[in-house]
C-alpha cells in the first residue's frame, strides 16, 4: 500500500525549454542593442558584456577585488554560521532561553540593519573588518531564526520514544534532534548566505575603496555599462550556483518530510 509519489515529474523537456527561454532572452537583448532599439550606451549587448568579462578576468585589480569580496563573505558567513547554529540550538532547545531571547532576537531582526550601515562606517571605518561585521549582522538572523524554528519543530513524541528506548541526552541530540532539525538548519544557512553576500556588496557599494562592489560603483560613475553588467552577471552566476547547491542539500536532508515546510522566510 505504497502512497504514490505525486510530485510532477520534471521531464528533461521542460528544462530544455527553460534553457531555450533564457537563451532567447539574451538573443533578443543582443539584437535589440545592435539595432539600437535599446541604447547601446546603457544596455550593452551581451557580446560586449562577455568581452568585458574576459578582459576583467585577466585584470589583476579586479581579481584582487574579487578576492577581497570573497574574503569578507567568508569572514562574515563563518561567524554568522557559528553564532547562528550554536545560538539557535541553545535557544531552540531550552524553553527558558527561548522565552528570554526570542523576543530580543526578533526585535533586533526587525530593526533594518541596512540603515545602520553609515554608522558602521562611522564606528569601524572603511576596511574589511567593518564590512565583514556589517554583513555578519545581516547574515546571522536568517540562520539563527531558522535553527530555532527547526529545533523547536522536533516532534516531542519522537524524543519520548527515544528516551523510552534508553537513549541518553547525547544520543537524543545526535540521533533525534539533529536529523529532525537539519533541513531547517540548511534553509537558514542558505538564506544566511544570500543575506551575507548582500551585506558585503551593499557595504562595498556604499563607502568602500576595495572589493567588487567598489568597482561596480566605479564603473557606473565612469559610464562603462559593459563592465557593470559583466560584474553583475558574474556575481549573479556565483550566487545562483551557491544557492542551488544549498537548495539541493536542503532537499536531500528533508526528503523524509511529508510536506514542503516553508521555514522562516527572510
Amino acid at each position: 500500500m505504497l502512497v504514490a509519489d505525486t510530485r510532477v515529474l520534471r521531464s528533461p523537456n521542460i528544462a530544455r525549454c527553460r534553457a531555450m527561454l533564457v537563451v532567447a532572452l539574451f538573443l533578443t537583448w543582443e539584437v535589440a542593442a545592435r539595432l539600437h532599439w535599446l541604447d547601446p550606451d546603457f544596455f550593452s549587448p551581451p557580446s560586449a558584456v562577455a568581452e568585458a568579462l574576459v578582459r576583467m578576468l585577466t585584470n589583476t585589480q579586479i581579481t584582487a577585488a574579487a578576492g577581497i569580496t570573497v574574503l569578507e563573505v567568508l569572514y562574515a558567513y563563518t561567524f554568522a554560521a557559528i553564532v547562528g547554529v550554536l545560538g539557535g540550538l541553545t535557544v531552540g532547545l531550552s524553553p527558558f532561553a527561548y522565552r528570554v531571547f526570542q523576543p530580543i532576537i526578533l526585535l533586533l531582526f526587525a530593526v533594518p540593519k541596512m540603515v545602520m550601515l553609515p554608522l558602521f562606517i562611522l564606528f569601524f571605518g572603511i576596511g574589511v573588518f567593518s564590512k565583514s561585521v556589517f554583513a555578519f549582522t545581516l547574515g546571522v538572523f536568517p540562520i539563527i531564526l531558522n535553527v530555532i524554528a527547526g529545533t523547536r519543530m522536533v516532534d516531542p513524541t519522537l524524543v519520548t520514544a527515544a528516551y523510552s528506548m534508553g537513549a541518553n541526552q547525547t544520543a537524543i541530540f545526535l540521533k533525534v534532534v539533529v536529523p529532525a532539525a537539519l533541513p531547517s538548519v540548511i534553509t537558514g544557512l542558505r538564506l544566511g548566505m544570500t543575506q551575507t553576500v548582500l551585506g558585503v556588496l551593499l557595504a562595498e557599494l556604499y563607502g568602500a575603496s576595495s572589493g567588487l562592489g567598489y568597482y561596480i560603483a566605479l564603473y557606473t560613475q565612469s559610464f562603462k555599462p559593459a563592465e557593470v553588467f559583466a560584474l553583475f552577471f558574474a556575481i549573479a552566476a556565483l550566487s545562483i550556483i551557491t544557492n542551488e547547491f544549498l537548495r539541493f542539500l536542503e532537499h536531500r536532508a528533508g526528503q523524509w518530510r511529508e510536506e514542503e515546510a516553508e521555514g522562516v522566510i527572510v
Partner: protein, 262 residues
C-alpha cells in the same frame, strides 16, 4: 511480573488549575506471560498507569515494580513500549527505525541488522525494509513500531492504544497478528485501549477503570488460550464478556462526562 503497589498520581496545581488526582491508590498485580488490558473512559488515567510502568512518570505515592525492579526511569532492558502515534523516525528507513532501539541499547552493528530483519519478518514487513515511513500506511507504520519494540527482546511489552489511529478492518487484522505473535513469545503484555472488542479478543484479564480519579472497578477474566482465532469473536463467551464490559463502562462514561467536574 508487573506490580502496582498502592500507587497514586496527582498532577500538581498550576496557573489557577487545582491539583488533579489522576490515579487513586491502585494496587494491581499482572502475572508473567499474561496479556493484560486496561480499559476505561477518557481521562480515567489508564495511560498514566501505563506510563508509570514505562518509567516515563513517577507515582506521587506508592511504587511500581517490574520483574521485582522498582521503576523510576525508562528501563529498556525490561520494558519496551509501542505508542499510539507510531513515533517512527521519519528520516530513517523502516529497517533503520527497527535498528534504532538496538542502537540506543548499544548492540553492535552486524547483530543489529540481523535482529531487526528477523523482527520485520515476524510482522511481515521484511520487503519494506528500505522504505520510508511516509510511504507506508498507518497499519504498516504501527507494525514497524511493534517490530521495533519486539526487537528489544524485553520480558514486558507495553502498548498505549496502538491501534487507535487505524480503521476498523486494519485493527482486526493487526489484533489477530498480535495474538499470534504473543503466542509465539513468552512476554507479558500490558495494553491500554478504548475498544471493547479489542480488549476481549486479546486479553487474558481486563481491568475496568473508573472515571477520574482512576481506580480499578473490576477485573474480568477471559480464559481462552492464545493464539485466538476470528471464530472466537462470534462465540457466546466473547459476547458475554463484551456485554459485561459495556455495562460497567457505560456507567463510568456517564459519570465521566456528566458527573465528575471535580
Amino acid at each position: 511480573m508487573i506490580e502496582f503497589q498502592d500507587v497514586s498520581v496527582v498532577y500538581a496545581a498550576s496557573h489557577g488549575i487545582a491539583p488533579i488526582e489522576a490515579l487513586q491508590r491502585i494496587s494491581l498485580a499482572i502475572h508473567q506471560g499474561e496479556f493484560f488490558t486496561l480499559i476505561g473512559p477518557s481521562g480515567c488515567g489508564k495511560t498514566t498507569l501505563l506510563n508509570l510502568a514505562a518509567g516515563l512518570r513517577r507515582p506521587t505515592k506508592g511504587q511500581v515494580l517490574v520483574g521485582g525492579n522498582a521503576i523510576q526511569r525508562p528501563r529498556p532492558d525490561i520494558v519496551s513500549i509501542v505508542f499510539q502515534e507510531y513515533s517512527l523516525f521519519p528520516w530513517r528507513t523502516v529497517l533503520g527505525n527497527v535498528e534504532a532501539g538496538l542502537e540506543f541499547r548499544g548492540v553492535p552493528a552486524p547483530q543489529r541488522r540481523e535482529r531487526a530483519l528477523r523482527y520485520l519478518r515476524m510482522v511481515g514487513l521484511e520487503s519494506f525494509a528500505n522504505a520510508y515511513p511516509r510511504q507506508l500506511s498507518g497499519g504498516m507504520k504501527q507494525r514497524v513500531a511493534i517490530a521495533r519494540a519486539l526487537s528489544l527482546e524485553t520480558p514486558v511489552l507495553l502498548m498505549d492504544e496502538p491501534f487507535g489511529a487505524l480503521d476498523e478492518q486494519t485493527r482486526m487484522v493487526l489484533g489477530e497478528e498480535l495474538s499470534r505473535i504473543f503466542a509465539r513469545t513468552d512476554k507479558t503484555i500490558l495494553l491500554v485501549t478504548h475498544s471493547l472488542a479489542e480488549a476481549v479478543f486479546l486479553s487474558d484479564r481486563i481491568a475496568v477503570m473508573t472515571s477520574r480519579p482512576g481506580r480499578i472497578r473490576k477485573i474480568i477474566e477471559v480464559p481462552v488460550p492464545h493464539p485466538r482465532t476470528p471464530e472466537f469473536m462470534t462465540s457466546d463467551l466473547f459476547h458475554e464478556r463484551r456485554d459485561e464490559l459495556f455495562r460497567l463502562l457505560h456507567d463510568e462514561m456517564r459519570a465521566s462526562v456528566l458527573g465528575a467536574e471535580s
